[in-house]
């Protein structure tokens, strides 16, 4: 039994090395004082200084963040309202919306991307920040709906009716009764939408123009030769994402524990 456990640990470790090796190497060499990606000369923050001085990269960070925040906000509001409305509609309409909603999830990104590119050019929309934002909202909403809609279906509809019978306006019923019950689904939707938007390359690449680039596009254009500044950027992005994910997973666990202790 013991022997098998060692084998399992070994295998899992190897897989994790495979998944994390590139990331770790990137982070390590971002602190290298020379341009080399194989010889570590001495510790330096030179590439971080380069990073913050490069207006191209800083603009891209700004574009990525602002688009991710706007797209997440808009798609969460629209997606949540749609999910709530959906459960009360006729079956045909429900199935239609759910199926259309699945299209951007199941369609390859590149097909979604060229579809949007053709659409924007047909409407003579100039490619740039606005088209990128619209495209991001388009592919984020489905993730919000798939996270929120199942929660709406398991919710007891009588609670909202009861609130309104007791004199609450529909708006109050929505904000005070329905939304709190959907909290978890909405939170999952926000997290998914934000990272989908923040990480996107393919769709952004096809629908942007006029020099508007997000982080992915800047990296793509810089990879023609090795550039340690990208390593510095990667390190920051990776740390932010990893810390957020760990917090998201750890905080609820601690909260639960505290509640359990309080009960005692």
């Amino acid at each position: 039994m013991k022997k098998r456990k060692i084998g399992a640990v070994l295998y899992i470790t190897l897989c994790f090395i495979f998944l994390y090796l590139p990331i770790v190497v990137t982070m390590f060499y971002s602190f290298n004082s020379s341009k080399s990606l194989t010889k570590f000369q001495s510790f330096s923050l030179r590439w971080y200084q380069n990073l913050f001085e490069s207006s191209d990269i800083m603009n891209a960070v700004w574009v990525s963040l602002s688009i991710a925040i706007l797209a997440t906000f808009i798609s969460t509001v629209l997606g949540t309202l749609t999910s709530i409305g959906l459960s009360k509609n006729r079956k045909i309409l429900k199935e239609l919306v759910v199926n259309v909603n699945n299209v951007p999830i199941m369609n390859p990104d590149i097909v979604t991307a060229i579809g949007l590119m053709i659409l924007f050019s047909a409407f003579h929309l100039e490619k740039g920040y606005l088209t990128m934002l619209l495209a991001h909202i388009a592919f984020c909403i489905p993730y919000v709906i798939t996270s929120v809609y199942p929660k709406v279906r398991t919710m007891d509809p009588n609670l909202a009716n009861a609130a309104m019978d007791l004199g609450a306006t529909p708006f109050q019923a929505l904000t005070k009764v329905i939304l709190p019950m959907l909290k978890e689904g909405i939170f999952a939707g926000v997290l998914l939408a934000f990272t989908m938007s923040f990480d996107d390359f393919v769709i952004s690449y096809f629908v942007t123009g006029n020099g508007v680039s997000n982080i992915s596009i800047v990296v793509y254009n810089m990879t023609k030769r090795t550039n340690p500044t990208i390593n510095a950027l990667s390190t920051i992005v990776i740390l932010v994402i990893a810390i957020t994910l760990i917090l998201v997973n750890v905080i609820p666990a601690i909260a639960r524990k505290r509640k359990a202790v309080d009960k005692k």
């Binding site: 295998y11 994390y20 090796l21 190497v25 409305g85 919306v97 659409l119 388009a138 529909p170 990480d199």
Partner: protein
């Protein structure tokens, strides 16, 4: 709750304009010629006919082959990983799964870029090989580099659904199988594996979909000349400007994926009916 019924109309209008309309336009472009002006369109099947030319057929075959190889490697490595993870305590399992998930959230482009520094001719792997007294190997711009990049990108998408169906499994079934005299191999094959098929299919669909339509990984790790379906579409739209032919390729790509999903779903259904 019927007050809220009307709330879906903004989305229905939005989805029609931004999800359905683009698909219709891709189809329209694929069966017409005359470039990007919609006013003077002419219907034609030339775009699809052009795809039977050997260079394009080769691209499809190559994409399929690499996609399939990557999916199979992901399945073998990922299934083992998911299976071994379930042998730990629940607390450890959730930590291990978190470790598998984190790379999924990190930009594919940044992770693929990181592989370049490992694989290049004077990269880390070759430097170590030379130090150990071996000949350096040229790894960048080969099928090997592309498959490696794909597998490291897609592995989590395979592990998560398989782990989900394995961890939901009723363990008394395995004990029952042993009690009824089945050996380890038979129990694994006829009970554990069979019950995890929905997860396997989900993982296979996800990884196949992502690998066959990729264009970043072949471009970065395969080099500028390396062409898979995704690169072909990108070229038509970005460099050549033949949107009609590009749309026709996309229609075929979407069709292949739709057929594969339908096929997988059918296997899933047949399996359940067999029970």
């Amino acid at each position: 709750m019927k007050h809220f019924r009307k709330m879906i109309w903004p989305y229905i209008i939005w989805a029609f304009v931004i999800v359905v309309l683009p698909l219709l336009m891709i189809i329209l472009y694929s069966v017409t010629k005359g470039g990007n002006e919609l006013l003077n369109i002419q219907f034609t099947f030339d775009n699809f006919k052009r795809m039977t030319e050997p260079i394009y057929v080769d691209v499809f075959v190559k994409s399929f082959k690499l996609g399939l190889i990557s999916v199979i490697i992901c399945l073998l490595v990922g299934y083992t990983l998911a299976y071994l993870i379930t042998s730990f305590s629940e607390k450890t399992q959730s930590v291990l799964i978190l470790i598998v998930t984190i790379p999924m959230w990190i930009n594919t482009l940044l992770r693929t870029y990181a592989w370049i520094s490992l694989l290049s001719d004077n990269g880390l792997i070759n430097t170590i090989l030379v130090k150990l007294g071996f000949e350096p190997i040229s790894m960048m711009y080969t099928d090997f580099a592309v498959v490696l990049g794909l597998v490291s990108d897609l592995l989590p998408f395979m592990v998560i659904p398989i782990y989900t169906s394995l961890s939901k499994m009723d363990h008394s079934l395995i004990e029952a199988s042993y009690d009824l005299g089945a050996n380890k191999f038979k129990t694994f094959w006829r009970v554990t594996f069979k019950l995890s098929i929905p997860g396997v299919l989900n993982g296979v669909i996800m990884t196949f979909l992502l690998s066959i339509s990729t264009f970043v990984i072949p471009k970065l790790l395969g080099g500028g000349q390396y062409t898979l379906i995704g690169n072909l579409i990108e070229n038509q739209f970005i460099s050549i400007g033949d949107w009609n032919f590009g749309s026709a390729i996309s229609v075929i790509l979407a069709f292949i994926i739709l057929m594969s999903i339908t096929f997988m779903k059918k296997i899933d259904k047949d399996e359940i009916e067999e029970e």
